[in-house]
C-alpha cells in the first residue's frame, strides 16, 4: 500500500473509531460532531469531483447542499402536517422516509446542477467561479424572501426522518448511516476516478485542447461531472438537514460554499480522501478553537493561511508527497 492509502485507511478508522469510543464513554455529543464531519466530508467528496478532478472551482455548491436540505425539509414538513405538497394535476404527498427523501434530494439537486451547469460551463476560470457564485446567491435570496417554507426562519422538523430497521434518533445509528453512505460514495468516486469518464474528465482539466483533438467534448464531460457532483452534495445536504432536524437559507449562503471548498483544500485537492480529512480537521478546529477565545476566527484564518502557503497539495500532499500517477 502507498503512504496515501495508509492515510486514507487511517482517516476512516479515526472517523469510525471516535464515535465508537464516544459511545463507550457516554459522550453522545462527540458522536454528533463525528456525524457532522462525515456529512461535510460527503459534501466535499461531491464537490471534489467537479473541483479536484474536473478543475471546476464552483463557489456555488451551497446551492445544491441547500436544495438537498430543503428537499428533506419540504417533504418532511408536509408529512408532519399531513398536507400534500400538491394535489393537482396529481397528488404528491410528503414523506418521512429517508430513502425517498435522499432520492428526491439527489434528483432535484442534479436538475439544479444541470440548469446551472449548462449556463455556467460556457465560462471558465474566474468567470466560472463568479457565475456559480451568482447562481448560488440567486437561490439564497430566493429562499430568504420566499415565505412558503419559512423564509429566513427556515423549517423545523420535530423528529428525525426514519430509515427502515433503524432508530435514527439514536446518535450512533444515524452516524452509522451517514458513515456507510460516505463509504459507498467514496467507492463510487474511486470507480469514477478510474473509469473512462474519470480519465477524460481529468485530462480535460489538464489540457482542454488535447481532449478536443481526440474527439471528446470537455463541455459534456464537465457538465456530467457537475451534475453528479451536485447530486452528491445535495444528498449531503439532506443528511445535514436531518442531523439538525432543521433547514434554513444559511445552508445556501456563499460562506457555506467557501467552507466546502476549505474541506477540500485542507485535505488536498483531487485526492479521494481530501475532503474526509479536511472536514474532520475543520470540525476539530471549530470545536477546540471555539473554546479558546471569542476571537477564534483569527486563529482559524492563520491556520488556513499556513496550509495554503506552506502545505501545497493539502495535508495529504504534505504527508504523502506528490500524487502517484495511476497505472
Amino acid at each position: 500500500m502507498t503512504r496515501e492509502t495508509w492515510i486514507n485507511v487511517a482517516s476512516l478508522a479515526v472517523l469510525l473509531g471516535v464515535p465508537l469510543w464516544a459511545l463507550m464513554a457516554d459522550e453522545p455529543f462527540i458522536i454528533t460532531l463525528a456525524t457532522r464531519a462525515a456529512i461535510f466530508a460527503l459534501a466535499g467528496v461531491g464537490l471534489n469531483l467537479a473541483l479536484g478532478t474536473g478543475g471546476l472551482v464552483s463557489l456555488g455548491h451551497a446551492a445544491f447542499f441547500g436544495i438537498g436540505g430543503y428537499a428533506m425539509g419540504i417533504l418532511a414538513s408536509h408529512a408532519q402536517s399531513y398536507a400534500p405538497i400538491m394535489e393537482a394535476p396529481f397528488l404528491i404527498e410528503g414523506t418521512k422516509s429517508m430513502p425517498v427523501i435522499w432520492l428526491v434530494a439527489m434528483v432535484t439537486s442534479a436538475l439544479a446542477a444541470l440548469a446551472i451547469g449548462v449556463l455556467s460551463l460556457r465560462t471558465s476560470g474566474v468567470y466560472f467561479i463568479m457565475i456559480t457564485l451568482a447562481f448560488g446567491q440567486m437561490v439564497y435570496y430566493f429562499a430568504i424572501s420566499w415565505p412558503a417554507y419559512g423564509g429566513e426562519d427556515g423549517l423545523s422538523i420535530y423528529v428525525r426522518n426514519g430509515f427502515p430497521g433503524l432508530n435514527t434518533l439514536v446518535p450512533i445509528q444515524f452516524f452509522g448511516l451517514c458513515f456507510v453512505i460516505l463509504c459507498l460514495v467514496l467507492l463510487l468516486m474511486n470507480a469514477i476516478h478510474k473509469s473512462a469518464f474519470g480519465l477524460a474528465l481529468s485530462a480535460a482539466r489538464q489540457n482542454e485542447t488535447r481532449v478536443l483533438s481526440v474527439g471528446l467534448k470537455p463541455y459534456h464531460l464537465r457538465l456530467v461531472a457537475f451534475v453528479i457532483s451536485g447530486a452528491v452534495t445535495g444528498l449531503a445536504g439532506a443528511l445535514f438537514a436531518d442531523l439538525n432536524r432543521f433547514v434554513s437559507p444559511t445552508m445556501l449562503s456563499w460562506q457555506m460554499s467557501g467552507e466546502i471548498i476549505i474541506f477540500i483544500i485542507i485535505g488536498g485537492v483531487g485526492r479521494l480522501f481530501g475532503p474526509v480529512i479536511g472536514a474532520m480537521i475543520f470540525i476539530l478546529l471549530e470545536h477546540t478553537l471555539g473554546g479558546l477565545s471569542e476571537f477564534w476566527h483569527v486563529y482559524l484564518g492563520a491556520l488556513l493561511l499556513g496550509i495554503v502557503l506552506f502545505a501545497k497539495g493539502g495535508l495529504i500532499g504534505a504527508f504523502a508527497g506528490r500524487e502517484k500517477a495511476h497505472d
Binding site: R122, Y127, M130, M138, I261, F295, V298, L305, L309
Partner: protein, 305 residues
C-alpha cells in the same frame, strides 16, 4: 411614477453605481495586473471606514478622516502584499481564494478585537449634511451629490493614470506580459506592491465615503465585496472601463429593480403577493443580470479572451 421621481431614482442609481465603481476599481486592477482574486478587498474597505471613524472621532475633521482611510488601507494593503499576497501570484485561483478568505477572517475578528462589537460613528461633514435642490425641484442629498462628483473624478484619474502616465504604461505592460516588463528592467515586485496598495487605498477610501452614510461595522465589507465582484465580472475582469460600465449597470439595475418590480407585478397580482414576488425578484436581479451577461459574453463586456 412622475418624471421627476424617475429622474431622482436615476440619480440614485448613478450614485450607487459610482459608489460601486470606487469599490471595484482596485479589485479589477489587482486582478488585471497580477492575476490575483482578492477576497480580502472587502476587509480593506472596512479598514478604511474604521480608520476614518477613529480619526473623525479624535479630530472632528472629515478631511483628515478621509486621508486616514487612504493611508490606513494603503498601509494594510502594502503590508499584506509584502508578507502574504506576493506568494500567491503564481498560485492557482483556488489557493488565492482560500488564502484571501483566511485574511477576511483575520481582519474581521482582529478589527472586532480592537474596536469592539458595536458599530462606530462616522457622520457626513456639516456642510454636506442636508439636501440641495436641483433644477426641476428635485431634492437630493448634498453628500450623495458629492459622492457622484468624487467618484467621477476618481474614475477620470484612474483612466489618466492608466493611459497617460509612466506607471500606467508599466501597469498595462504588466497586464500584457509579465516577463516582458521584467525584461524591460522594471522592478516588478515594487510595481506589484504599488498597484496592490493603490487598489487597497481606493477600497479604503470608498469605505470611508460610504461609511459616513451607512453603518461602520465589522462585516461591512463582505456584501460589498460580492457586489464588487458582480461589477467587475460583468465589465470584464481587468478592465477599468468595464468596471465603470459594470458599476453603473448594476447601480441602475438594482435601484430601478427595487422600485419598479413590485409595481410591475402589482399590475397582474394582488398587492401583497406583488410586493413579495417583486421584492424577491429584485433581490436576485443583479445576479440574474450577471449570469445573463456571462452566458452571452463569457468574458464580460470588455474582457479580453
Amino acid at each position: 411614477m412622475t418624471i421627476l421621481l424617475f429622474i431622482e431614482q436615476m440619480l440614485n442609481g448613478l450614485q450607487f453605481g459610482v459608489m460601486l465603481f470606487l469599490m471595484s476599481a482596485g479589485l479589477t486592477l489587482v486582478f488585471g495586473v497580477m492575476g490575483l482574486i482578492n477576497l480580502a478587498h472587502g476587509s480593506l474597505y472596512m479598514i478604511g471606514a474604521f480608520a476614518a471613524a477613529a480619526v473623525a472621532a479624535a479630530t472632528g475633521s472629515f478631511v483628515l478622516a478621509l486621508m486616514a482611510s487612504l493611508a490606513a488601507a494603503a498601509l494594510a494593503g502594502a503590508l499584506i502584499e509584502l508578507t502574504i499576497i506576493r506568494r500567491l501570484y503564481d498560485r492557482d485561483h483556488l489557493d488565492q481564494v482560500l488564502a484571501t478568505f483566511a485574511l477576511i477572517l483575520i481582519f474581521s475578528e482582529g478589527t472586532r478585537w480592537m474596536f469592539g462589537s458595536f458599530p462606530l460613528f462616522l457622520d457626513v461633514p456639516k456642510v454636506l449634511s442636508g439636501p440641495v435642490t436641483l433644477p426641476g425641484g428635485i431634492q437630493f442629498p448634498a453628500y450623495r451629490l458629492s459622492i457622484i462628483v468624487i467618484g467621477l473624478l476618481v474614475a477620470g484619474g484612474m483612466f489618466a493614470l492608466i493611459n497617460r502616465t509612466r506607471v500606467g504604461i508599466r501597469i498595462r505592460a504588466g497586464e500584457a506580459d509579465r516577463e516582458m516588463i521584467a525584461a524591460l528592467g522594471v522592478d516588478i515586485a515594487k510595481l506589484y506592491t504599488f498597484v496592490f496598495a493603490l487598489g487597497a487605498a481606493l477600497a479604503g477610501f470608498a469605505g470611508a465615503l460610504v461609511g459616513a452614510i451607512q453603518s461602520v461595522q465589522v462585516g461591512m465589507g463582505e456584501p460589498v465585496l460580492i457586489l464588487a465582484f458582480v461589477v467587475i465580472v460583468i465589465g470584464g475582469i481587468g478592465s477599468i472601463k468595464g468596471a465603470f460600465v459594470g458599476a453603473l449597470l448594476v447601480g441602475f439595475t438594482d435601484t430601478m429593480g427595487r422600485i419598479l418590480l413590485p409595481q410591475i407585478f402589482a399590475l397582474f397580482l394582488e398587492p401583497s403577493s406583488a410586493v413579495t414576488v417583486g421584492s424577491a425578484l429584485a433581490s436576485m436581479l443583479i445576479y440574474i443580470l450577471m449570469a445573463g451577461v456571462l452566458v452571452f459574453r463569457p468574458r464580460g463586456l470588455y474582457g479580453v479572451a
